[in-house]
Symmetry: C2
Subunit: 211 residues, 2 copies
């Protein structure tokens, strides 16, 4: 049965495993389209334009926002972040799910957007703050000050956990990944995402009429 | 993590496979408690009191209803049917899910009851009406007139499909069973059914405070 694509929102404080889980979800089902964010911040080492982010000038970013071409956007640490609308619409129209790696502000905007009809939102919590900081430091790419900022942002992010449909404590990555897949594949079966059901019931009623 | 028990509602026109699916769901997870209905109709051959139904006199049934001891009840084909409340409360308090094999009237009442906080409702549709009637006749226990009545009731039942969280067209029993299990196991992960999440977040915040 044909179904409508879902807006899959994955949020978590940085270091809780969100990026790894996103990648694994897309490896599991390559039809899922990842929503590449646009940002005004400079690329980090190894980041590729168009794959990790669309790197835009402040002016280009502001223009996109002004023309209503961003599904959601926000300012974080002095940089603009946003999700371009066009690729999302294109994927949904093809019946594909779109995965968003966004913070609570993005999640709120997507839920309340014109496209926010079939949203599945999942929040990933770390097992502990000690572990969260350990993972951040392990990346080894940020200064102490940046890490302090991130930890502050993490606390703010975590405070929004109750706005999500599902909240998973990422104790064991394998297990969290398994749960995530289970949630996505069950949610795809929800009535609202199955527009052809109404056709099926119409056929059943025709059969009743013909008896 | 401890979780709250779910009220699992399975509805379908008779002959769509609901009973078989209920049995398979409970074989898959024996912690699921089946809500045995009470009824005033006489037992059919092979039906066991307390297992298939609680067979009650009209008077006893009316007394239970009057004392508010039924979670839901309705009159169908001149007989009373209802779900006794006590075993449901007992199971939910033990963190167990309770499975209800009820019609749309029962489903509506359970959703709107004092216990209807964590409801997962699933509707099973037949692939066709022809197939539905074939399955009814195959049982071989009902007269033509009873079958006509059941088919009329089926049409009424099917008209309520859109009130359910999930609607599955039971084309292939194996496949429908698999989907059902996937839906139940994912729904068990929903935020609202995980009361210990709030404790986990409290612990995380304590850790932030202590830094």
């Amino acid at each position: 049965m044909a179904r409508r694509g879902l807006l899959l929102i994955l949020s978590s404080p940085s270091g809780a495993g969100k990026s790894t889980l996103s990648k694994r979800l897309m490896a599991w089902d390559p039809t899922i389209r990842f929503s590449v964010s646009a940002t005004t911040r400079p690329p980090r080492p190894g980041e590729v334009d168009g794959r990790d982010y669309y790197f835009l000038s402040r002016e280009a970013f502001a223009n996109h926002v002004q023309r209503g071409e961003m599904l959601e956007y926000a300012e974080v640490f002095g940089n603009g972040y946003g999700s371009p609308k066009a690729p999302v619409i294109e994927a949904l129209e093809a019946g594909r799910d779109v995965l968003f790696d966004v913070d609570w502000q993005g999640a709120q905007q997507i839920r309340n957007s014109s496209l926010g009809r079939d949203v599945l939102s999942i929040f990933i919590l770390p097992p502990s703050i000690e572990e969260l900081e350990r993972r951040l430091r392990f990346r080894g790419q940020d200064s102490d000050e940046v890490i302090r900022d991130r930890m502050r942002k993490s606390r703010d992010e975590i405070s929004h956990w109750a706005e999500y449909d599902y909240v998973l404590v990422n104790e064991d990555l394998q297990e969290t990944e398994e749960k995530l897949k289970r949630i996505v594949s069950a949610t795809r079966l929800r009535r609202e995402t199955q527009p052809t059901l109404v056709d099926h019931v119409r056929e059943l009623n025709k059969e009743f009429d013909a008896r």
